[in-house]
């Protein structure tokens, strides 16, 4: 798209910030390689229209182009929550999983994309390639059982908790001072943390919140938001260095994200 068109779209958006013109403008900027600008426009549009799958798909494609696979994965997962049959999201997630070496999941997304768009030659080609690389075809109807992501990755039980936005426990547990289960109580205390952190990050110009770290006392804590509607809390004794705990939390969040996405 020629720069004059981008200028015209930019002017149109400036005149009417609530206009849907942010979609073609961000796409035009993405195609021209102006990824920072494209992301700014798309994110602002998604802020105005948070239920619009197309806006999140655009964000995901820009983030994918920027090499931000985790963020693109989040955005496409949001797309599927809004529109479970969004072809672009299935294709995008298939590509990300392929790039990450998770061929089985890539196959699943691409198979769904092929079902939704049987005439899409690019999807058929990608599907054939991933099938070849995966080296095996699934028996129709077979699905691997989803394991509790926090227990599967954790050799020390009861040190991580995954809760939904309503404070309901999804997985894991934590122990209180008396050694008893404190998971439900902590889940309740975490209710609203996501909204609070989002609000603080937005109003203070910190962008999208990614983590909360707490240091002090006999234990340290890390909070993550694996998906937009879940919160993960991980804790370790203070002997675990802060950087290592942050890495453990990132890994747990990635496992939780995959687990939640499979459950859905």
């Amino acid at each position: 798209m020629i720069p004059e068109t981008i200028q015209a779209l930019t002017a149109q958006l400036a005149r009417d910030p609530a206009s849907l013109v942010f979609l073609p403008l961000a796409e035009a900027l993405r195609r021209r390689g102006q990824l920072d600008s494209a992301l700014t426009v798309a994110t602002s549009g998604a802020g105005r229209y948070p239920e619009m799958a197309g806006a999140w798909d655009l964000i995901a494609r820009v983030q994918s182009d920027r090499g931000e696979g985790d963020l693109a994965f989040d955005a496409w997962t949001t797309v599927l929550r809004l529109d479970p049959d969004h072809i672009g999201a299935h294709k995008g997630l298939g590509f990300l999983c392929y790039r990450g070496g998770d061929h089985a999941r890539s196959l699943r997304y691409l198979q769904r994309a092929a079902e939704l768009a049987p005439d899409d030659a690019a999807v058929q080609t990608a599907l054939a390639r991933v099938r070849e690389i995966a080296g095996a075809r699934r028996v129709p109807g077979y699905a691997e059982p989803a394991t509790d992501p926090l227990r599967a990755m954790d050799t020390e039980p009861d040190q991580a908790l995954l809760v939904d936005q309503q404070g309901r426990l999804l997985a894991g547990d934590l122990r209180g001072q008396d050694g008893g289960s404190a998971g439900e109580a902590v889940a309740a205390a975490l209710t609203g943390v996501t909204r609070e952190a989002e609000r603080a990050a937005r109003l203070l110009g910190l962008g999208t919140w990614r983590r909360i770290s707490l240091e002090g006392g006999p234990a340290h804590f890390e909070l993550r938001t694996p998906t937009i509607d879940s919160v993960l809390l991980l804790t370790r004794g203070r002997h675990v260095p802060a950087g290592r705990l942050a890495m453990l939390a990132d890994r747990a969040a990635a496992a939780a994200r995959r687990w939640l996405e499979e459950l859905r």
Partner: protein, 114 residues
Amino acid sequence: MSLSRSLTDVTRIPGVRGALVVSRDDGLVVADALMEGVDGQAVAALAASLAGRMRGVTTVLGQPEPVLLMLGGTEGLLLLAPGPSGLLLVAVAGPEVNVAELRLGILAAAGTAY
């Protein structure tokens, strides 16, 4: 060391947009050193609210109040360190800040500013 000196020490760290001393109970600004465009009252209120919520989590687990809280975003971070007398030392920084240096700076300020 005075409050203003402690805040100045924190704001000297490259990437820091501002630092404040905030009353934990009501989220009011006690002292501040902020770059233009940073809304001190908003920072104070949000920081106090977030600190209170996270204190709730550690209380449920029978843990003491954290000595440091960091909220990390894609474009910056917020650091809080509770001090004595119901005060909080707060810093807002951009993504380019040396987190380790800021962490040490704010802990030192929280320990010496009151």
